[in-house]
């Protein structure tokens, strides 16, 4: 069974007249890392919210077509149920963080699953250690820097151990150490069969993906193997948009 199935998905927000997503279809197999790229406003974050069920459950609007997460139709399952399958890390961590300390933030979701106390503590310790933020465990998330907040938001989702991870521009604000840690985590999660969708603009960040999708004004215009699509996307940026600041910088952390 595919981890993600998006079938003829179209969506418009209640307040916006135009369609943001237009007849999008793709599938993601378990254990695949897929990168989603496209210019600002093309619908990347909207698609992420469709995968997490936030659309249509919280944001309403007009959704046509179907999104299946591990076979579950997002229209028929509550966001809390879907959160066990798909972990969504938002573009803006401030929308996600609310607990008084970093460790409370990471413990919140496992505690709500009624996991044993020891299991929650182990998960919190592991996540803090993996992300290299153990020294921040007693800190109020509001006092953290932008990059640190992204790591905590990521940790809060990792602690749930979902089978699918959706990261909406999480890597951009991280320093080189943070970027390396996240890259290593993603490669390790793939090894353990997790499915990952990453939205990023940086070619280095997307180069770990097995496959790459390109959105343009709400339409899926390319879907293929990463190296091929990266080259095509770079050509498009250069020749259609006159952009010479985006170059493929190798696959240092690429697929094994």
């Amino acid at each position: 069974m595919d981890a993600i199935v998006v079938d003829r998905l179209s969506y418009r927000y209640q307040a916006v007249g135009r369609e943001i997503l237009k007849n999008i279809s793709f599938k993601v197999a378990p254990g695949e890392i897929v990168a989603l790229v496209g210019l600002s406003g093309c619908g990347k974050s909207t698609l992420c919210m469709c995968l997490g069920g936030i659309i249509p459950h919280y944001l309403g609007g007009m959704l046509d077509g179907q999104v299946l997460i591990n076979g579950k139709d997002t229209k028929e399952y509550r966001v809390a149920q879907l959160a066990l399958e798909v972990g969504l890390v938002f573009q803006d961590p401030d929308t996600q963080l609310f607990a008084p300390t970093v460790e409370d933030e990471i413990a919140f979701a496992p505690e709500n699953l009624c996991l044993p106390v020891e299991e929650v503590a182990t998960r919190v310790d592991n996540v803090l250690d993996t992300l290299g933020i153990t020294s921040l465990r007693k800190t109020n998330p509001n006092h953290l820097s932008g990059g640190q907040k992204h790591l905590v938001a990521m940790g809060a989702v990792l602690a749930l151990e979902p089978s699918i991870l959706v990261l909406d521009e999480v890597i951009a604000q991280l320093d080189p150490v943070g970027k390396r840690i996240i890259n290593e985590i993603l490669v390790d999660l793939r090894r353990r069969g997790k499915t990952i969708l990453i939205v990023e603009h940086d070619p280095e960040a997307v180069s770990i993906a097995d496959r790459m999708l390109v959105l343009e004004e709400g339409r899926l215009i390319k879907d293929g193997e990463t190296a091929t699509v990266l080259e095509w996307w770079e050509f498009m940026l250069r020749h259609k948009y006159g952009c010479d600041n985006w170059t493929i910088s190798g696959h240092a952390t690429g697929p094994e």
Partner: protein, 219 residues
Amino acid sequence: MAYIDIENVSFCYPGQSRFVLRDINLRIYKEGVTAVTGANGSGKTTFSKLLIGLLKPVKGRIQLNGKLLSSLTLAQIGRQIGYVFQNPDKQLFCETVEEEIAFGVRNLGLPPERVTQKVREVMDYFELSRYAQAYPLSLSAGEKRRLALAAVFALEPGLLLLDEPTTGLDPYRKQLLGDYLDKLVAANRGVVVISHDQKFIDRYATRLLRLEDGQFIEE
């Protein structure tokens, strides 16, 4: 003469013993693009908030254009330093994109026709014209970032202080931003960019400062 003169400045947040910045001595000129880098949590954003008077040093002093920063109001500082927050949501508050850009320009006391012209110019440049009547907080993250930049650029301050300005920008819009910075520098304005975007820094920065253990290292 330095546009901003920072003398022996130290800072720690209330109730905390750890100094985020220690005995900083630095001069920032109204020329070129100064890039500030450093690990997450090293104090880059704290430093920027000291420069615009949102935070006060616990030791030392900062002078802006020859005047003590502590003697100026936030509005007076804002006319000389244009600040773009790391998170544009903290900056946008108007009902429409057009109004967001016009707000600051109008407060400069410019005649209405000049305000309209300036708003159109930056909306065109940052490709926001199609969203002129849209609600700013309904835009995508990249569009909000462009709007926050446009609203500050329209004010034409002597120095621009941009906290992670490329986050959320696609490669094409990143290039538009960089080209705009080049134009500002050619017009004798200064730019300070806090960023982890190494490619952007390599391409546009003329001076590199790295913040490490509460102190700056000039590279």
